[in-house]
Amino acid sequence: MTSPETLAFMELAIHQARLALDALEVPVGCVIVEDGKVIATGRNRTTETRNATRHAEMEAIDVLLGQWQKNGLSMAEVAEKFLNCSLYVTCEPCIMCASALSILGIKEVFYGCSNDKFGGCGSILSLHSSNTTPVNNEVSSGKSFKCTGGIMASEAVLLFRTFYEQGNPNAPKPHRSLARQA
């Protein structure tokens, strides 16, 4: 059974996704939580930045890294901090984000709907349980993290549906939905 706390944090992630939708961005949002407190939020900004890697997770991570460095934390201290952070995101992290999260060494990830095309936490690749890396040296492979999906998935899917019905304004011409002109 999903705890009320988990649902409350996912609700905040959904709110971030709604902000993305309002800005005509693919509606994905997230929050990062440390000791029961939200310490960073993020939402997709790929259209605005024309950088398709500016996913919600990357936005939230950058907020944190900026804040922590401003507070004078060293790299080792930041690494220690991530070990105690959980991410709540409306859609399963893609291969890029899942890999980034394992590079940072996040403790745990909760996500809404799964990502059948790009998912890096079980759907396409399983970067959260990276036992595939050759036994080498600790610094050459990412850290595993616990991953739980399906939290408020229908809400997350509904946002995607709303977005694709209004047409993706960032899609290249041949793929653009004609729904908006109708």
Partner: protein
């Protein structure tokens, strides 16, 4: 001399040993050529070969004396059960009505990925082979001119990688249609903007002015000096994609004045620079101007501000022709690139999964790398993203085998 075999295509799938391709057992039978049409039509109804679509249903042989023999695949022989009575009833009826005598044979289980594989497959049973439907320049080979160009861009990446005290990974994004460098970057894990050449908006010839690898050898350059071989034998712990968790063990220096970022691998920094270039060259185009204006306001996120500052500085260097192009009436909106569509990226080391997926998202057309990454490489070494069918974009991947002299031709 430069030649084509220096650039090796890394295929979408791990290739099978040509002579040991996986096979599947099937029931087959000789049939009377007169009944071929009826039998095949009926077979396709009752036992379609769903998982063996590449296998031809019928095989035609010319026997001694010119007699034509037709063999047809009846159905897949289920594992461990080669009994005829395990066949579906409709098939059994068909066998008895045409008086067929089924036997077991082998067919190749997977679609051939090359002409050579296909030729081997047909020794078992004929299959069909369709060369890839999308064609990306280079998969079928490079012209002498293109090879030269690839090698030059790769060497400019190698020089960037060596431009600091610590060897790092470097990335150069190129528009191959104009041979223009769109952006370039080094790993920026430990210090931002450590790379002097970062976001150099190169002119078409910019790379050739300081690069000269071809076949000319500097007679003053000791080709087999210790220093050059050492470069190759270093552990390269500074290369972000090779040691993705090394940052966490980095000795602390809390009062350092520069920023650091564990995810600023060369490829992602180069993507960021190319996006900044796009916003700079085509500031108001697009369907939602409102959000671009928002970007220009002061509440832009922390991460985008350094890039923005950089963008503003570099804006002065930007080719005026380019700027005019987008405001001229003749300038089609299509002149603005969609992300990195059509662009190539040169990386010294094979990228990790984060970088390789970032390049999928940004729609890079071709990836060239010089050295494989056995620790975390995602383009053949540990993962093989170019073969993940579910992704919405696929690039072609090549390894560039640099001539020895190209590696230590750096005298900056």
């Amino acid at each position: 001399m430069t030649n084509n075999c220096l650039i090796v295509h890394i295929p979408d799938q791990q290739p099978y040993d040509l002579h040991h391709q996986p096979t599947e057992s099937v029931f087959a039978s000789a049939i009377n050529p007169k009944h071929a049409n009826q039998i095949v039509r009926r077979l396709n109804q009752i036992v379609p070969l769903d998982d063996l679509r590449h296998v031809k249903r019928i095989q035609k042989n010319v026997l001694e004396g010119g007699e034509i023999q037709l063999l047809v695949i009846l159905c897949v022989a289920s594992e461990g059960n080669n009994q005829l009575d395990s066949m579906p009833p409709h098939l059994q009826e068909l066998i008895s009505s045409y008086q067929l005598s089924p036997f077991i044979t082998k067919v190749c289980k997977y679609v051939a990925t090359s002409k050579e594989e296909w030729q081997e497959q047909c020794k078992f049973w004929p299959t069909s082979y369709h060369p890839r439907t999308y064609n990306i320049d280079g998969i079928t080979g490079f012209s002498e001119e293109d090879s030269q160009s690839v090698l030059k861009f790769m060497q400019s990446a190698v020089e960037l990688a060596k431009s600091n005290d610590l060897v790092v990974n470097a990335a150069v994004i190129v528009d191959p249609s104009t041979k223009e460098i769109i952006s370039s970057a080094c790993d920026q894990i430990y210090a931002w903007n450590s790379c002097k050449d970062d976001s150099c908006y190169g002119k078409p010839e910019s790379f050739s002015s300081h690069l000269n690898i071809s076949s000319t050898c500097d007679p003053h350059e000791p080709l087999h000096s210790n220093s050059s071989s050492n470069w190759l034998k270093q552990p390269y712990t500074g290369v972000a994609c090779l040691y993705i968790r090394r940052w966490a063990e980095h000795p602390s220096h809390p009062h350092s004045s520069y920023f650091w970022h564990p995810l600023r691998h060369a490829a992602t920094v180069a993507i960021e620079s190319s996006a900044a270039r796009d916003r700079n060259l085509f500031p108001s185009e697009g369907t939602n101007e409102a959000s671009y204006q928002e970007l220009d306001s002061e509440n832009a996120s922390w991460t985008s501000s350094p890039a923005k500052r950089q963008k503003t500085v570099c804006g002065n260097d930007v080719d005026d022709d380019k700027l005019n192009a987008c405001t001229q009436p003749s300038g089609q909106p299509s002149a603005r690139p969609y992300l990195c569509t059509g662009y190539d990226i040169y990386l010294v080391w094979e990228p990790c999964a984060m970088c390789a997926m970032a390049l999928v998202h940004q729609r890079i057309r071709r990836i060239f790398y010089a050295f494989p990454n056995p620790n975390a490489g995602a383009l053949g070494s540990v993962h093989r993203l170019q073969g993940q069918k579910s992704l919405n974009h696929h690039y072609a991947v090549f390894r560039v085998l640099l001539p020895e002299e190209a590696l230590h031709k750096s005298h900056v």
